[in-house]
Amino acid sequence: MRKFDWRTFLRNNAVTVMFVLLCAVCLLYSGQSASFVMYELFGRLSRNAFIVLALIIPIVAGMGINFAITIGAMAAQIAVLWVIEWGVSGLPGMALAALLTVPIAAFFGYLIGKLLNKMKGQEMIGGLILGYFANGLYQLLFLFIFGNLIPLKAPGLVIKGSTGVANTIDLSTERGFKYALDGLLQLPFVQAMYILFAVLAVVTVVLLLLKKMKPVKGAIYLIVMAACVGLVQIPAVADIFSMVKVPTVTFLVVGVLCLFNTALLRTRIGQQFRAVGQNRTVANASGINVDKVRVIAIMISTVLAGWGQLIFVQNMGSFQTYGAHEQVGLYAGAAILVGGASIRKATNGQALLGCVLFHLLFIVAPAAGKNLFGDAAIGEYFRVFISYGVIALALVMHAWSGVQKKKNAKEALTT
């Protein structure tokens, strides 16, 4: 066994550990019941996980956190507007919006990628500022062009006597597609878990039989699953999840995206992402078109972010026309960093863990703030403060990891 070093572990996972502690403290002081927290958490996970996963490819391709996913969200909102205008509702509406998002987001992603190629090394600040800039164009589009130059007929999209698209776009009307995905199959938690585990167990067994998985690993998976099934038999544990209704199809989509990320990185283009991410010079010398690879990475990320925003709005049922996209990049970026990703390395697991921790804090912080300081706004203040703090911390730690390697001149040259 390799010796486990607490210090290295803490240093490498400082953000995650800090967040776990913070969540635990807030959970304790929030006074909220475990079942309520779980209910909220699953709701938030279902609508937010997808967009966080959209960040992985650009990180692997060495472009840092793609704050320009804000623009992907804008693309999705443009698509939503038109789907409502045409009156395509329900699942077909959602599907049409998803389809419509692809060309819009891919086009924007292409432009973003082209621009970021001109500012290599500064992609994150570039993406961030680009998001703010694009917000101006978005407002121009929604305030002036849609509804004025291009008339909209659907009721509620334009308020009579005012100009531009309404402040809020409502998806819960008969023209919208609220819960189009979530509502397909809502299962109680325990039932959803049984189904998931049944599928996983079958896959594990098949892999074991085909000898594509190490027997020890497979056995551990099976035992863990069995243990979980055992746990929920305890009424106290089952009680925690009693309120949870799992939007199974949405989680299925998230799972498919995880598989997509993994599979993509195992292809030729995936290898190119990783190569470009490690060293552009070397990648270029081996004949990889670095600029093109980077543009593709951003395009994929932007389209995925657009779909993520669709999942978000279909769950929320309405969105602020002029503000829903603004914080998307920040929150998703903070979430993936909380999960232990860095601006150079990220995995599906880190994205999902980060999502859980980050949103857990979102749920419990206001209540904890109210109980501790007598004001929910303080908890609210904390969670905004913390999301910026996490990003700053991740950037500082990235800079530190380079400094630590410094040795004296002789050692540096002899080793």
Partner: protein, 535 residues
């Protein structure tokens, strides 16, 4: 073989603006031959290779004259990728490996073996799944052919540098249709046994019919490995010899050559043997690209010591290390007092001044006037040229103007006056301002690093004469670092040759070309006949 030569580069000329860097150079390589390419820095080796690989820098500056023939057919190579497709490979001096990838992934980078899957059938071959098994077995084969037993699943990160070199070679060999391999200084980072192994691997490769162009500064390796040798000097072809027709001494001589007459003639004199001004013991400097690895030497009061050697061998690291401009370690004594490394102001306070090789980067403030440039360091370090008014200080304009006028007169700086901006001066005059700045510190010891780089011949002469005058008239002890041997020979009392970060030998300026050539390739003159490499 259909053609006698796998590669012919005939009458290649290349100019960068006014500057001719290659003048009618011809290089002919037979299949299965190891062809060494020799030359000092600036001889044109890298430009010739840039032409061969169709580097963008060549095309962006107006292309080249002459023709390139592959297998006897005229071709034009438009990009490095194009060169790769035409069967020309390069083993880089700086490793082109990805640390986070395994050996297999690196060898197969961008040439992955893939399987089609249902998505790729629709969306193209970029989405084909990697076939790790096939990739690693191919990598294994390539590794075996260079005699590497390392596991193909090991990550490159943390590997010894020698291994990385062989992985690079394995990658080139693994490419199908490779006809010609260029090895750029492949042994620079290797230990002696690894270098020997490399030479035998090169011979193996050559035996399989692949031609090799071997660029190195180690003459003993050239003699051990090469079949033919082409020597360049100052952008011209000196000669092309078969190995059996030449000797290591002749190669050294041809490589250095006489480059015209001495620019400055000095009265011959006895080498000063006075007190030791600077004592350097086991100096290590981590200056990227110019690492110094344990150098010891003494400089006597009143002498001019030249430091020479090829680029990248560490000669620049010595002054930069003593001045603590880069991370350095070792024992340094200046006029009998210990000098603590690690902070540049220590050296300045101890009376050492330096004229940097990086004139525009660290030497001059281009947007400031000549006078401000001259007094800048003295003002910052010694607090001179300042007037105190209570807690505040103000520049003492009169003192500054006086010293600037004196320097302008002494060093013959051609300018409109002390208030002219340094950036508008010619290169030679900028260099003199740098010297004036060093002198304004009233130093007892002067480091001058590449003082004539990038300035014209007339200005060179003036700068060198200034240095001689400082030395003769004021008794200043000077250490001059230069890539131009002729310059060192014309004014130095002794010349120290550095190779691979270590001191090879200290030669009198009158030593023969061959001696200097041998020393630059790391062989102590007089020792090569015993057949031993200097340890």
């Amino acid at each position: 073989m259909s053609a006698e030569y796998v590669l012919q580069m005939n009458h290649i000329s290349k100019r960068y603006g006014e500057n001719t860097v290659l003048n009618d150079v011809t290089l002919q390589v037979r299949p299965g031959e190891i062809h060494a390419l020799l030359g000092e820095n600036g001889a044109g080796k890298s430009t010739l290779m840039n032409v061969l690989f169709g580097m963008p820098v060549i095309h962006a500056t107006g292309g080249f004259d002459g023709e390139v023939l592959l297998d006897g057919e005229k071709t034009s190579i438009t990009s490095p990728h194009d060169a790769m497709l035409k069967g020309i490979g390069m083993v880089h001096q700086e490793f082109m490996l990805l640390p986070g990838f395994t050996v297999t992934e690196n060898i197969k980078l961008n040439r992955e073996v893939t399987n089609r899957n249902f998505v790729s059938r629709l969306m193209g071959k970029n989405l084909e799944t990697l076939d790790m098994k096939a990739m690693s077995s191919a990598a294994r084969k390539a590794l075996d052919s260079v005699g590497m037993s390392i596991d193909e699943y090991t990550r490159v990160e943390g590997m010894p540098v020698g291994y990385m070199q062989f992985v690079e070679i394995a990658r080139e060999i693994d490419k199908t249709g490779i006809k010609l391999l260029v090895f750029d200084e492949p042994t620079a980072v290797l230990t002696e046994s690894e270098a020997t192994q490399l030479v035998s691997v090169m011979k193996e490769i050559a035996k399989s019919g692949i031609a090799i162009i071997f660029i190195t500064h180690r003459l003993d390796e050239v003699m051990a490995a090469a079949d033919a040798i082409t020597i360049l000097r100052d952008g011209r072809l000196v000669t092309c010899r078969a190995k059996q027709d030449t000797s290591i001494v002749e190669l050294a001589e041809l490589m250095i050559g006489r480059k015209g007459e001495a620019m400055v003639s000095t009265e011959p004199r006895e080498v000063p043997q006075g007190n030791v001004a600077l004592k350097v013991c086991d100096l290590w400097v981590n200056m990227p690209g110019e690492e110094v690895k344990g150098v010891s030497f003494d400089v006597h009061e009143g002498e001019i010591l030249g430091i020479g050697g090829l680029a990248g061998q560490g000669k620049l690291g010595i002054p930069n290390g003593v001045m603590s401009l880069y991370d350095a370690m070792g024992d340094v004594e200046i006029f009998g007092e210990k000098l603590k490394l690690g902070n540049a102001s220590n050296a300045l306070n101890a009376g050492i001044a330096m004229v940097s090789e990086d004139r525009k980067g660290v030497g001059l403030l281009l947007d400031q006037s000549i006078e401000d440039n001259i007094v800048f360091t003295a003002m910052q370090i010694h607090g001179e040229y300042l007037r105190k008014i209570g807690p505040f200080t103000q520049k003492n304009d009169k003192e500054i103007r006086d010293v600037a006028n004196k320097m302008i007169a002494d060093l013959d700086i051609r300018c409109f006056g002390p208030t002219q901006h340094a950036g508008t001066l010619s290169g030679g005059n900028q260099q003199k301002v740098c010297i004036a700045r060093a002198l304004a510190m009233k130093p007892r010891f002067l480091f001058v690093s590449e003082p004539t780089r990038g300035i014209d011949i007339g200005a060179k002469k003036l700068v060198l004469e200034t240095l001689v005058r400082l030395n003769r008239e004021q008794g200043m002890t000077i250490v001059m670092v230069s890539s131009e041997l002729q310059e060192l020979r014309s004014i130095s009392d002794r010349i120290m040759i550095v190779s691979e970060g270590q001191l090879v030998d200290i030669l009198p300026p009158g030593a023969s070309d061959a001696d200097f050539g041998l020393a630059m390739s790391g062989i102590k003159p007089g020792e090569h006949k015993k057949g031993g490499d200097a340890p």
